[in-house]
Symmetry: C2
DNA sequence: AGCTGGCACTCCCGGTAAGCGAGTGCCAAC
DNA sequence: GTTGGCACTCGCTTACCGGGAGTGCCAGCT
C-alpha cells in the first residue's frame, strides 16, 4: 500500500468527507462531520485526522478557515477502496428495461441509451455505436438504381446499416443478382475484420469469363469490393453521440467557467473517442477522475465508462461525464447496469 | 403601416441601436450613437428620437440612466424593414461547398450541415432529416434472416434507409424473391405519402392461390405491409439533430439563467419540432424573435429557419438558435445559403 | 498515546456607505 | 426642429466592518 499510515478511522473520515461534499457541494468541516456520521470521537480528533489527510494530499482547504474538499487523489482512493458500486433500485431497473425494450432499431437503441443514461445519472451521457469491425456481416444488398449505378447496403448483425452509391460499368440485372448471391455466400456471418481478406480472395477467384480485358475499366466486382472495403475501413472512426448537456448547466453557477470548454470538447469527435478510451471488457468499469483525463478542458470533470457487447465481445464503450464531485457509487451502478442491458438487447437482435 | 410617425431618421436610429447593441452587447447611449454613426445631428436630438422609439415600444431602458436596448418588437422591425440578408463572403461560400461536398451519405450530410451551420453562425444549429413522407421510394429490400424472420429495408431517394425485422409465417426463399419484385414494381418511384393507398390495393389484388385460409395467421404479405405502413407513419415524427451548444455558453455569463432551460428544451424532440415550425417553401427564411416563440424557455432566444429540399419540394427545415441579440443579417445569410446548398446536394444524390 | 475541550486566529461572506460616471429628461435659446 | 446646458437618477465599484465558521494548537484528562 502506498500509505500504510492511513488507519481505519482516517479512511472513514475521508469517506465521510467525500459523501458529504458530494451531497452538499460545500466544503465540510470537522463539526458537521461528527454530527452527520457517528464517528464516536470529537471534532478535535477529526481535525487531527484531517490535517493528516491533507498532508497526504487526499483533501484540500480552499482557504484557511474553510472546510475541506476532496482532491482528485482523494476521490481516487474513495472509488478504489472506500465504496462499492451501488445496485440500482428496482424502479430504476424497471425503467431501464421498459425504456430500452421499446427500441426499434440500432439508432433507436443508441439514442434511447443516451437519454436513459443522462436521466439516470443526471449527467452528460456518451454512447459509442457498436464497432463495425467487431460485428459480423448479416447481409449485403446490391440495388440497381440505373445501369451504371448501384447502391451497396451493408447490414451487420448489430443492426447497423451503411449504404453507399457506386458507379460501375454497365451491368445487367441478372448479373447483379448473381453477384449478390455469390458475395453474400462469401461473407455473410463473417466478422467485418475478416472481410478484407475474404474480398481479396473473392476477387482473385472470379470465373475466367468475367475477368476484364487487360487495361479496361475495373470490373463491377472490383469497384464494389473497393467501396465495400472503404466503408469498413472508414467507419473505423466510430460514431459517438452524447446528450444530457443540460445537466452540465444544472448546478447553476457551480463551475461556470468550466462549462464552456466542456461543451466545446464534447463537440469534437476526437475528444469523445479519447474520452471513452480503450475498449475494456464488457461491464468492466473505468473511472477517470479530474486531471487523470488527459485533456485540459476536462480536468475538473470525471468520466465513468464501461464496455458493452455480446457475451465477452466488447463492441463499444458507453459512459457519463460530470463534475469530479459526482456520486460515484450511484453513477457507477447506473453505467454498469445500462451497459449490461444494452449488451443483452444487442444479443437478441 | 402601423406607425406612420416613424420618419426616416428615427428608423436610422433604431437600426444603429440594434447594430451597436449586437456588436457590443451593452446598452447603447445617445452619445455613443452619434460618434459611431454619422447621423448628422447632436446627441440631444437623438435622445428625443429615442424617447419616441421607447414610447412606441421598439427599445427599452434597463434602468433609468442606462442606454437603450432593442425590444423584441424593435428587432422585428429591424429584420422586416431595416436590413437585408447579408451575402456570404466567398471564403464562407467556399467553406460550405468543400465541407458538404465530402459527405458520403445522408447521415453524413446532416451531421456535416449541423457542424457547418454552428461554425458559420457561431450559434446552435438545428437540422431536420429530410421528411420521409415527402420523399419517394427508391427500393424495398427483403432479406431472409431465418425461415420466419425477414428484415425489411426501405430506401428513399433522399438517401434515407430504415430497416425493421418482421416475424412472419414460414416463407421460402423463392417466394420472397417474387414478393420483393412485385412489391418494388408496385411502389418504387412513388411518394411515401402515396404508399399506404398503394399497399392496400396491393394486398387486395393478390393472386387467389395466395390468399390465406380464413381465420389463419396473417399472410407474410399482410405482415410485411403492416410493418411497412408502420415505418412510414411512425417516422412522421421526424428525426432532428442539433449541435454547437458550446456557442450558447460562449457569451460567458451573458445570459446565465437562460442557458439551462434552453439546453433542456433542445433535448426534447417535441420542442425541436416546434422550433423548426411548419414547413415553408425552400429557402424562404423564417425568423422568430424572443417571445414570438411559444415556449417559455425560449423567450430570450431567436430562431432563424429555412426550408430546404429539391426544387420546389420542401423536404425539411434547418436553422439556428441564439440569443435575441444576434447578428440577424449574417445569420440569415448563412442559413439561407446552407439551406440552398443542402438542397442541391440532395438533388444530385 | 491518544483523545478532548478550550481558545485565539484567520479569512470568507454579507451588508452598508461613498464616490464615480454614464446616461437621461427637460428647458431655454437658436 | 435642433442644440447646448444642467440637474438628476441610478447602477457599479471600492472600501469598510462585523459575524461566523472553521482551523491549529495546547494543556489536561483517561
Amino acid at each position: 500500500m502506498d500509505e500504510p499510515k492511513l488507519d481505519r478511522r482516517r479512511l472513514d473520515v475521508l469517506r465521510a468527507i467525500v459523501e458529504d461534499y458530494v451531497a452538499t457541494q460545500e466544503p465540510v468541516g470537522s463539526k458537521a462531520l461528527v454530527e452527520r456520521h457517528n464517528l464516536g470521537v470529537s471534532p478535535a480528533t477529526i481535525r487531527n485526522d484531517m490535517a493528516l489527510l491533507e498532508e497526504e494530499g487526499y483533501i484540500h482547504q480552499p482557504h484557511t478557515s474553510a472546510g475541506r474538499v476532496p482532491t482528485d487523489k482523494g476521490y481516487r482512493l474513495f472509488v478504489d477502496r472506500l465504496t462499492n458500486v451501488k445496485p440500482l433500485t428496482t424502479a430504476e431497473r424497471r425503467a431501464i428495461h421498459s425504456f430500452l425494450d421499446e427500441a426499434l432499431d440500432l439508432d433507436d437503441v443508441v439514442s434511447r441509451t443516451v437519454r436513459l443514461l443522462a436521466q439516470l445519472t443526471r449527467q452528460v451521457a456518451v454512447v459509442q455505436y457498436p464497432s463495425l469491425t467487431r460485428s459480423a456481416v448479416r447481409h449485403v444488398e446490391l440495388v440497381g438504381l440505373a445501369p451504371t449505378r448501384i447502391m451497396l447496403v451493408l447490414i451487420t448483425d448489430t443492426g447497423r446499416v451503411e449504404q453507399r452509391v457506386v458507379e460501375v460499368v454497365p451491368l445487367e440485372e441478372s448479373a447483379l443478382g448473381e453477384l449478390r448471391a455469390r458475395l453474400n455466400a462469401e461473407i455473410v456471418g463473417r466478422r467485418l475484420s475478416e472481410v478484407p481478406g475474404l474480398l481479396e480472395d473473392f476477387a482473385r477467384r472470379r470465373p475466367a469469363g468475367e475477368a476484364p480485358p487487360a487495361g479496361a475499366a475495373p470490373s463491377a466486382v472490383d469497384a464494389l469490393c473497393a467501396v465495400l472495403l472503404e466503408m469498413i475501413v472508414e467507419q473505423r472512426e466510430e460514431r459517438i453521440v452524447f446528450g444530457g448537456t443540460a445537466n452540465l448547466a444544472r448546478f447553476g453557477q457551480d463551475f461556470p467557467d468550466t462549462i464552456h470548454p466542456v461543451l466545446e470538447a464534447l463537440e469534437e469527435q476526437v475528444v469523445l473517442l479519447k474520452l471513452l478510451g480503450e475498449a475494456t471488457a464488457p461491464s468492466l468499469l473505468t473511472v477517470r477522475i479530474g486531471r487523470e483525463n488527459e485533456l485540459d478542458q476536462l480536468t475538473s470533470t470525471s468520466v465513468v465508462t464501461s464496455g458493452y457487447g455480446r457475451g465477452d465481445d466488447t463492441l463499444a464503450q458507453l459512459g457519463v461525464l460530470g463534475p469530479t464531485r459526482m456520486d460515484y457509487p450511484g453513477t457507477m451502478g447506473a453505467v454498469s447496469a445500462v451497459a449490461r442491458y444494452v449488451g443483452r438487447i444487442l444479443e437478441q437482435a
